[in-house]
Protein backbone atom coordinates (compact mmCIF):
# COMPACT_ATOMS: atom_id res chain seq x y z
CA UNK A 1 0.00 0.00 0.00
CA UNK A 2 1.57 3.21 -1.13
CA UNK A 3 0.59 6.65 0.02
CA UNK A 4 1.87 8.23 -3.17
CA UNK A 5 -0.67 9.58 -5.61
CA UNK A 6 -1.08 7.83 -9.00
CA UNK A 7 0.59 10.79 -10.69
CA UNK A 8 3.63 10.59 -8.40
CA UNK A 9 3.92 6.87 -9.11
CA UNK A 10 4.08 7.23 -12.88
CA UNK A 11 6.12 10.41 -13.04
CA UNK A 12 9.48 9.64 -14.59
CA UNK A 13 8.34 6.18 -15.70
CA UNK A 14 7.29 4.85 -19.07
CA UNK A 15 7.22 6.86 -22.23
CA UNK A 16 7.56 10.13 -20.35
CA UNK A 17 11.14 9.15 -19.59
CA UNK A 18 12.76 7.82 -22.73
CA UNK A 19 10.04 6.47 -24.95
CA UNK A 20 10.38 9.17 -27.58
CA UNK A 21 14.14 8.78 -28.00
CA UNK A 22 13.68 5.00 -28.41
CA UNK A 23 10.96 5.65 -31.00
CA UNK A 24 13.11 8.17 -32.88
CA UNK A 25 16.19 5.96 -32.86
CA UNK A 26 14.17 3.09 -34.32
CA UNK A 27 12.89 5.30 -37.15
CA UNK A 28 16.27 6.84 -37.94
CA UNK A 29 18.07 3.48 -37.97
CA UNK A 30 15.30 2.10 -40.20
CA UNK A 31 15.84 4.94 -42.68
CA UNK A 32 19.59 4.30 -42.74
CA UNK A 33 18.98 0.59 -43.23
CA UNK A 34 16.85 1.00 -46.37
CA UNK A 35 19.79 1.51 -48.80
CA UNK A 36 22.13 -0.68 -46.72
CA UNK A 37 19.76 -3.66 -46.79
CA UNK A 38 19.05 -3.36 -50.52
CA UNK A 39 22.80 -3.37 -51.19
CA UNK A 40 23.24 -6.23 -48.75
CA UNK A 41 20.55 -8.49 -50.26
CA UNK A 42 22.21 -8.05 -53.65
CA UNK A 43 25.59 -8.84 -52.09
CA UNK A 44 24.34 -12.00 -50.37
CA UNK A 45 23.09 -13.28 -53.71
CA UNK A 46 26.44 -12.36 -55.29
CA UNK A 47 28.48 -14.10 -52.61
CA UNK A 48 26.33 -17.20 -52.04
CA UNK A 49 28.61 -19.34 -54.19
CA UNK A 50 31.89 -17.41 -53.90
CA UNK A 51 35.13 -19.14 -52.99
CA UNK A 52 37.51 -17.87 -50.32
CA UNK A 53 39.58 -15.60 -52.59
CA UNK A 54 36.49 -14.01 -54.16
CA UNK A 55 34.93 -13.38 -50.77
CA UNK A 56 38.11 -11.87 -49.29
CA UNK A 57 38.60 -9.70 -52.41
CA UNK A 58 35.05 -8.45 -52.00
CA UNK A 59 35.40 -7.50 -48.30
CA UNK A 60 38.90 -6.16 -48.93
CA UNK A 61 37.81 -2.77 -50.18
CA UNK A 62 37.24 0.30 -48.02
CA UNK A 63 33.78 0.85 -49.49
CA UNK A 64 32.50 -2.68 -48.96
CA UNK A 65 34.14 -3.00 -45.54
CA UNK A 66 32.70 0.38 -44.54
CA UNK A 67 29.22 -0.56 -45.69
CA UNK A 68 29.49 -3.90 -43.85
CA UNK A 69 30.54 -2.16 -40.63
CA UNK A 70 27.64 0.28 -41.02
CA UNK A 71 25.19 -2.52 -41.78
CA UNK A 72 26.33 -4.58 -38.80
CA UNK A 73 26.32 -1.70 -36.31
CA UNK A 74 23.14 0.06 -37.43
CA UNK A 75 21.38 -3.24 -38.13
CA UNK A 76 22.17 -4.70 -34.72
CA UNK A 77 21.22 -1.41 -33.03
CA UNK A 78 17.85 -1.62 -34.80
CA UNK A 79 17.56 -5.34 -33.99
CA UNK A 80 18.41 -4.70 -30.33
CA UNK A 81 15.67 -2.09 -30.04
CA UNK A 82 13.17 -4.26 -31.87
CA UNK A 83 13.88 -7.34 -29.78
CA UNK A 84 13.61 -5.18 -26.65
CA UNK A 85 10.06 -4.17 -27.63
CA UNK A 86 9.12 -7.77 -28.48
CA UNK A 87 10.44 -9.03 -25.11
CA UNK A 88 8.66 -6.25 -23.23
CA UNK A 89 5.42 -7.08 -25.02
CA UNK A 90 5.38 -10.84 -24.51
CA UNK A 91 7.33 -11.62 -21.33
CA UNK A 92 5.32 -10.50 -18.35
CA UNK A 93 7.17 -11.77 -15.28
CA UNK A 94 9.49 -9.00 -14.09
CA UNK A 95 12.44 -11.31 -13.37
CA UNK A 96 12.19 -13.24 -16.66
CA UNK A 97 11.76 -10.00 -18.56
CA UNK A 98 14.86 -8.37 -17.08
CA UNK A 99 16.92 -11.52 -17.68
CA UNK A 100 15.69 -11.77 -21.29
CA UNK A 101 16.44 -8.09 -21.92
CA UNK A 102 19.93 -8.49 -20.48
CA UNK A 103 20.63 -11.61 -22.55
CA UNK A 104 19.29 -10.05 -25.74
CA UNK A 105 21.37 -6.91 -25.31
CA UNK A 106 24.48 -8.94 -24.47
CA UNK A 107 24.09 -11.15 -27.53
CA UNK A 108 23.66 -8.08 -29.73
CA UNK A 109 26.82 -6.47 -28.35
CA UNK A 110 28.87 -9.66 -28.79
CA UNK A 111 27.55 -10.23 -32.33
CA UNK A 112 28.21 -6.61 -33.29
CA UNK A 113 31.78 -6.64 -31.99
CA UNK A 114 32.50 -10.04 -33.56
CA UNK A 115 31.16 -8.94 -36.92
CA UNK A 116 32.93 -5.59 -37.00
CA UNK A 117 36.24 -7.07 -35.84
CA UNK A 118 36.02 -9.82 -38.49
CA UNK A 119 35.53 -7.22 -41.21
CA UNK A 120 38.45 -5.14 -39.92
CA UNK A 121 40.68 -8.24 -39.69
CA UNK A 122 40.00 -9.09 -43.32
CA UNK A 123 40.46 -5.47 -44.37
CA UNK A 124 43.80 -4.91 -42.63
CA UNK A 125 45.33 -8.35 -43.07
CA UNK A 126 45.42 -7.85 -46.80
Amino acid sequence: MSLRSPLARVRGLGSAREGSSHWWAQRLTSLALVPLVLWFVFSVAMMAGADYVEFIDWVHSPVVAGLLVLLISVGLLHSNQGMQVVIEDYIHGEFCKVVALFLSQSVHIVLGLTGVLSVLMILFRG
Binding site: V41, A45, M46, G49, D51, Y52, L111
Partner: protein, 130 residues
Protein backbone atom coordinates in the same frame (compact mmCIF):
# COMPACT_ATOMS: atom_id res chain seq x y z
CA UNK B 1 -1.90 -3.39 -7.97
CA UNK B 2 -4.81 -5.85 -7.77
CA UNK B 3 -6.89 -6.19 -10.88
CA UNK B 4 -9.43 -8.61 -9.41
CA UNK B 5 -11.69 -10.57 -11.72
CA UNK B 6 -12.56 -7.80 -14.07
CA UNK B 7 -13.84 -8.92 -17.47
CA UNK B 8 -11.20 -8.88 -20.22
CA UNK B 9 -11.77 -7.48 -23.66
CA UNK B 10 -11.96 -10.06 -26.47
CA UNK B 11 -8.48 -11.00 -27.62
CA UNK B 12 -6.88 -12.04 -30.92
CA UNK B 13 -8.48 -15.48 -31.20
CA UNK B 14 -12.02 -14.11 -31.64
CA UNK B 15 -11.11 -12.18 -34.77
CA UNK B 16 -10.96 -13.56 -38.28
CA UNK B 17 -7.43 -13.02 -39.69
CA UNK B 18 -7.43 -10.10 -42.11
CA UNK B 19 -4.85 -8.60 -44.45
CA UNK B 20 -4.14 -5.78 -42.00
CA UNK B 21 -3.65 -7.93 -38.90
CA UNK B 22 -1.78 -10.70 -40.76
CA UNK B 23 0.72 -8.28 -42.30
CA UNK B 24 1.14 -6.60 -38.94
CA UNK B 25 2.12 -9.75 -37.05
CA UNK B 26 4.14 -10.96 -40.05
CA UNK B 27 6.11 -7.69 -39.83
CA UNK B 28 7.11 -8.50 -36.27
CA UNK B 29 7.81 -12.20 -36.98
CA UNK B 30 9.99 -11.31 -39.97
CA UNK B 31 11.81 -8.74 -37.87
CA UNK B 32 12.66 -11.39 -35.28
CA UNK B 33 13.54 -13.91 -38.03
CA UNK B 34 15.88 -11.34 -39.57
CA UNK B 35 17.53 -10.77 -36.20
CA UNK B 36 18.13 -14.50 -35.81
CA UNK B 37 19.36 -14.59 -39.41
CA UNK B 38 22.00 -11.98 -38.59
CA UNK B 39 23.83 -14.89 -36.91
CA UNK B 40 24.47 -16.24 -40.40
CA UNK B 41 26.08 -12.98 -41.55
CA UNK B 42 28.34 -12.87 -38.50
CA UNK B 43 29.19 -16.58 -38.90
CA UNK B 44 30.06 -15.96 -42.56
CA UNK B 45 32.38 -13.04 -41.70
CA UNK B 46 34.02 -14.91 -38.81
CA UNK B 47 34.64 -17.84 -41.15
CA UNK B 48 36.24 -15.56 -43.74
CA UNK B 49 38.38 -13.92 -41.06
CA UNK B 50 39.57 -17.25 -39.68
CA UNK B 51 41.00 -18.53 -42.96
CA UNK B 52 40.42 -20.46 -46.17
CA UNK B 53 39.96 -23.88 -44.61
CA UNK B 54 37.07 -23.03 -42.31
CA UNK B 55 35.52 -20.66 -44.86
CA UNK B 56 35.29 -23.44 -47.45
CA UNK B 57 33.42 -25.63 -44.94
CA UNK B 58 30.91 -22.85 -44.21
CA UNK B 59 30.63 -21.99 -47.89
CA UNK B 60 29.99 -25.60 -48.92
CA UNK B 61 26.88 -25.37 -46.73
CA UNK B 62 25.76 -21.84 -47.70
CA UNK B 63 26.46 -22.49 -51.38
CA UNK B 64 24.46 -25.75 -51.47
CA UNK B 65 20.87 -25.67 -52.70
CA UNK B 66 19.63 -25.81 -49.11
CA UNK B 67 21.98 -23.03 -48.03
CA UNK B 68 20.91 -20.84 -50.93
CA UNK B 69 17.24 -21.54 -50.19
CA UNK B 70 17.85 -20.49 -46.59
CA UNK B 71 19.69 -17.35 -47.71
CA UNK B 72 16.86 -16.56 -50.13
CA UNK B 73 14.26 -17.01 -47.37
CA UNK B 74 16.29 -14.79 -45.09
CA UNK B 75 16.60 -12.02 -47.67
CA UNK B 76 12.85 -12.31 -48.43
CA UNK B 77 12.10 -11.85 -44.71
CA UNK B 78 14.50 -8.92 -44.65
CA UNK B 79 12.98 -7.23 -47.71
CA UNK B 80 9.42 -7.78 -46.42
CA UNK B 81 10.39 -6.18 -43.11
CA UNK B 82 11.99 -3.32 -45.07
CA UNK B 83 8.96 -2.72 -47.32
CA UNK B 84 6.45 -2.87 -44.49
CA UNK B 85 8.82 -0.67 -42.47
CA UNK B 86 8.64 1.96 -45.21
CA UNK B 87 4.84 1.61 -45.02
CA UNK B 88 5.09 2.30 -41.29
CA UNK B 89 7.27 5.37 -41.90
CA UNK B 90 4.59 6.63 -44.29
CA UNK B 91 1.98 6.12 -41.57
CA UNK B 92 4.27 7.85 -39.06
CA UNK B 93 4.13 10.89 -41.34
CA UNK B 94 0.35 10.76 -40.80
CA UNK B 95 -0.46 9.65 -44.34
CA UNK B 96 -2.35 6.73 -45.86
CA UNK B 97 -4.25 5.79 -42.71
CA UNK B 98 -7.71 5.35 -44.25
CA UNK B 99 -8.90 1.80 -44.85
CA UNK B 100 -8.73 1.72 -48.70
CA UNK B 101 -5.15 3.08 -48.61
CA UNK B 102 -4.14 0.61 -45.88
CA UNK B 103 -5.43 -2.31 -47.96
CA UNK B 104 -3.81 -1.00 -51.13
CA UNK B 105 -0.43 -0.42 -49.46
CA UNK B 106 -0.68 -3.85 -47.78
CA UNK B 107 -1.13 -5.62 -51.11
CA UNK B 108 1.62 -3.49 -52.62
CA UNK B 109 4.03 -4.49 -49.84
CA UNK B 110 3.46 -8.20 -50.50
CA UNK B 111 3.94 -7.86 -54.26
CA UNK B 112 6.88 -5.45 -54.06
CA UNK B 113 8.81 -7.49 -51.48
CA UNK B 114 8.56 -10.67 -53.57
CA UNK B 115 9.47 -8.88 -56.82
CA UNK B 116 12.29 -6.89 -55.19
CA UNK B 117 13.89 -9.97 -53.62
CA UNK B 118 13.62 -11.99 -56.84
CA UNK B 119 14.89 -8.99 -58.82
CA UNK B 120 17.96 -8.51 -56.63
CA UNK B 121 18.86 -12.22 -56.85
CA UNK B 122 18.35 -12.29 -60.63
CA UNK B 123 20.44 -9.11 -60.97
CA UNK B 124 23.22 -10.58 -58.83
CA UNK B 125 23.27 -13.83 -60.82
CA UNK B 126 23.21 -12.00 -64.13
CA UNK B 127 26.19 -9.76 -63.28
CA UNK B 128 28.36 -12.68 -62.27
CA UNK B 129 27.18 -14.11 -58.96
CA UNK B 130 28.25 -17.72 -58.72
Amino acid sequence: MTRGNRPLSPHLQVYRPQLTSSLSILFRIMGVATSVGSLVLIWWLVAAASGAEYFEIVQSFLGSWFGRLMLFGWTLALVYHLCNGVRHLYWDAGKGMDLPSVHASGKAVVVVSILLTLGLWVLAYSVGGA
